[in-house]
């Protein structure tokens, strides 16, 4: 995806003009993908057993009659299927995903109110997993087949195989229950009255365990990728050139190998956003973190399928935006890509 526009020295247009054209094209693609995902959701709803309203309202005594009526109207279920789909699309375009009676809020408002917590959690664990992954990968690659390298590989394999929600639970047992070091539930200390500095510190302390749990698996992904990427670059011709220049091992590793080895990591980062969001559902459930994931879990419990689908759509949009950003970062990092 990121390498599609590699061109050897094309006719030069002004940088700004090229960037604008590129952005317009990518935004167009992103919009199309989003429309397709909305249609996919529509299809899922209609494949489900029973009336779509039953699905949306949930069957466990879910909807009040007004709610069902509102849904019936919103989705135009008395209309032919293509009209329903167009209505669904139009509603989605207006960010109208209906109303969650359980939470007494519109789905969009609900999602928006939970978004910051999830973004905070995801950002923290991306930073953590990416940084640690790069460090461990570089460290291992510079001592390939040493004891340290093997130890890192074993660690990565274990992280790969550990269910992250289980790791979170065990972390709570150890750090919250036994050692009483870190909070294991929620995002703030309830009813505390403090200034912004203490508040930041408080949220930070609450963030440690969930962010680590969510980062664990991805750290393993990045460590392995960074190690193999470094080793691959080490075998390339221009590294031999760098050695023939008389550069030190350290300079070769950090100035020549690392900047090239990190490029596939950026692509991987984009690909991992969706998985990270999935992991957030589990981690937020474990830690009672008031974000989108926790909202999804509550929606499952309350059979609020309309809300659940809203979260899925929103999550997809988030992934699309993240992919766009990683493509831009990649193009900025790799001079071979001329955005044209």
């Amino acid at each position: 995806m990121a390498t599609e526009s590699v061109r050897p020295a094309p006719a030069r247009r002004s940088g700004r003009e090229r960037l604008v054209r590129y952005l317009v094209r990518r935004l167009g693609q992103a919009a199309l993908t989003l429309v397709a995902i909305v249609i996919l959701n529509f299809v899922i709803l209609h494949l489900a057993p029973g009336d779509a309203i039953d699905v949306l309202a949930g069957e466990a005594g879910g909807g009040t009659p007004e709610y069902v009526e509102q849904l019936r109207h919103a989705y135009g279920l008395d209309q032919p299927i293509y009209v329903q789909m167009v209505r669904y699309l139009v509603n989605a375009a207006q960010l109208n995903f209906g109303f969650s009676f359980r939470n007494n809020m519109s789905v969009v408002d609900l999602i928006m109110s939970r978004l910051p917590a999830t973004l905070l959690l995801m950002t923290a664990s991306i930073l953590l997993s990416f940084t640690l992954g790069v460090l461990l990968g570089v460290f291992a690659a510079r001592r390939v087949n040493s004891f340290a390298d093997n130890a890192i590989s074993v660690l990565a394999l274990l992280c790969y195989a550990t269910p992250l929600f289980w790791f979170g639970l065990m972390a709570i047992v150890l750090f919250t229950v036994k050692l009483n070091l870190l909070p294991g539930n929620g995002m703030y200390t309830i009813a505390a009255n403090y200034d912004w500095f203490e508040a930041t510190l408080d949220v930070g302390r609450h963030l440690v365990l969930p962010a680590c749990s969510l980062a664990l698996f991805h750290m393993a992904v990045y460590t392995r990728l960074m190690r193999s990427s470094m080793l691959e670059i080490y075998g390339l011709d221009y590294i031999r050139t760098a050695r023939a220049k008389g550069l030190s091992q350290r300079r070769i590793a950090f100035r020549h190998v690392l900047p090239n080895a990190i490029l596939p990591m950026v692509t991987m980062l984009g690909l991992q956003i969706g998985a990270l969001l999935g992991g957030a559902v589990l981690v937020e459930t474990v830690f009672g973190w008031p974000g989108l994931g926790r909202l999804a879990f509550d929606a499952i419990l309350q059979r609020d399928h309309n809300l659940l689908i809203g979260i899925l759509l929103f999550g997809s949009a988030l992934v699309i935006v993240a992919n766009l950003v990683t493509d831009l970062v990649y193009a900025w990092l790799d001079p071979r890509i001329e955005v044209a």
Binding site: Y234, R240, G246, H256
Partner: protein, 332 residues
């Protein structure tokens, strides 16, 4: 003439599943100031490994230099520690490679890569290193050097990139330039330009060039002396004129036979790939007991298959490792 580089009995091995395999076996050579010595042979003959062993840029492991000495400037390079060796690389001995397309770091500007070579070995400010880099680029005839210096390698053609490689290699005015197949990957016209450039720079800087190639056309054009390698060993050593006129080793004969009339027209010869000798170079772990070339040699006799011929001097100062010519020389 006093040699500036003398390699004696160099042995380089690679680890394989079955233990170490000797890829360069007892190579000796001498290079004088301002001289161009060519090492020729088919791929797999060990010529590139010889070059990289001299500068110790082979990945170790899997490679290891098992024996011999490389004397440069009164020191054996093989015994230097890594820091002392780094001070030699790119400073006193430089190297350029076969693949200009892949030999430059794609995410660094060419200027940064040249400046890096300058700053590594000389006490010089970034600004003056940059000025010097521009001067070097002009020297290797890169047009519009002041603008080009901030380009990334992918914007340059293969020939231009090889010029950048040469500028980088010559940044610290080395005494020796090792050129490993410097023109093989280039178009024929560009090949000629690069060879001319190298010859001119050699005249200016007075460095010795160790030229690794399989192209006898290139050898005829630029080298004074030639070392012919086969299966990790030197099989013939001679001044370039004598080698082309009267090759001693059947392998050299085969190489020449495969490259028609190259010294009449080097460009024509450069177009010709050699190796019309039937068969291939044996793998280093599957060498026959006698002369490694015997299985492919039209003139081989019984002794060649059981005993390995040593590289011995002939009366006119050449060297060959072939019983046939050695016996003929002894008989006459």
């Amino acid at each position: 003439m006093k040699p500036i580089l003398s390699v004696r009995d160099l042995r380089t091995q690679f680890s394989a599943a079955s233990g170490y395999v000797t890829v360069v076996d007892g190579v000796s050579l001498e290079l004088a100031e301002g001289e161009t010595l060519a090492i020729v042979g088919e791929s797999g003959s060990g010529k590139s490994v010889t070059a990289m062993s001299i500068l110790r840029v082979l990945p170790e492991p899997p490679a290891r230099i098992a024996g011999g000495e490389v004397v440069f400037d009164g020191r054996d390079l093989l015994t230097l520690d890594e820091d002392a060796m780094r001070a030699v690389r790119g400073h006193e001995i430089s190297m350029i490679f076969q693949e200009p397309m892949t030999s430059l770091n794609p995410v660094m500007t060419i200027g940064a890569q040249i400046v890096e070579a300058l700053c590594e070995h000389r006490d010089i400010s970034q600004a003056s290193a940059r000025d010097e880099a521009v001067a070097l680029l002009e020297r290797v005839r890169i047009p519009d050097a002041r603008r080009r210096i901030d380009e990334y390698p992918h914007r340059l053609s293969g020939g231009m990139r090889q010029r950048v490689m040469i500028a980088m290699a010559l940044a610290c005015r080395p005494k020796i330039l090792i050129a490993d197949e410097p023109t093989t990957a280039l178009d024929v016209t560009v090949q000629a330009q690069i060879l001319t450039l190298l010859a001119r720079l050699q005249a200016e800087f007075g460095m010795g060039i160790l030229l690794i190639t399989h192209n006898l056309g290139v050898v005829a054009r630029v080298a004074q002396r030639v070392l012919v390698m086969y299966a990790g060993r030197v099989v013939e050593e001679a001044p370039v004129g004598q080698l082309f006129k009267d090759p001693l080793h059947p392998y050299t004969e085969g190489l020449l036979g495969a490259t028609p009339r190259m010294h009449a027209n080097a460009e024509e010869g450069a177009r010709q790939r050699l190796v019309d000798i039937p068969g291939v170079v044996p793998l280093p772990d599957q060498l026959p007991p006698g002369c490694a070339f015997a299985p492919r040699c039209p003139k081989a006799f019984d002794r060649c298959r059981v005993e390995r011929p040593e590289l011995l001097p002939t009366r006119d100062g050449r060297k060959t490792a072939c019983f046939l010519t050695q016996e003929a020389g002894a008989a006459s």
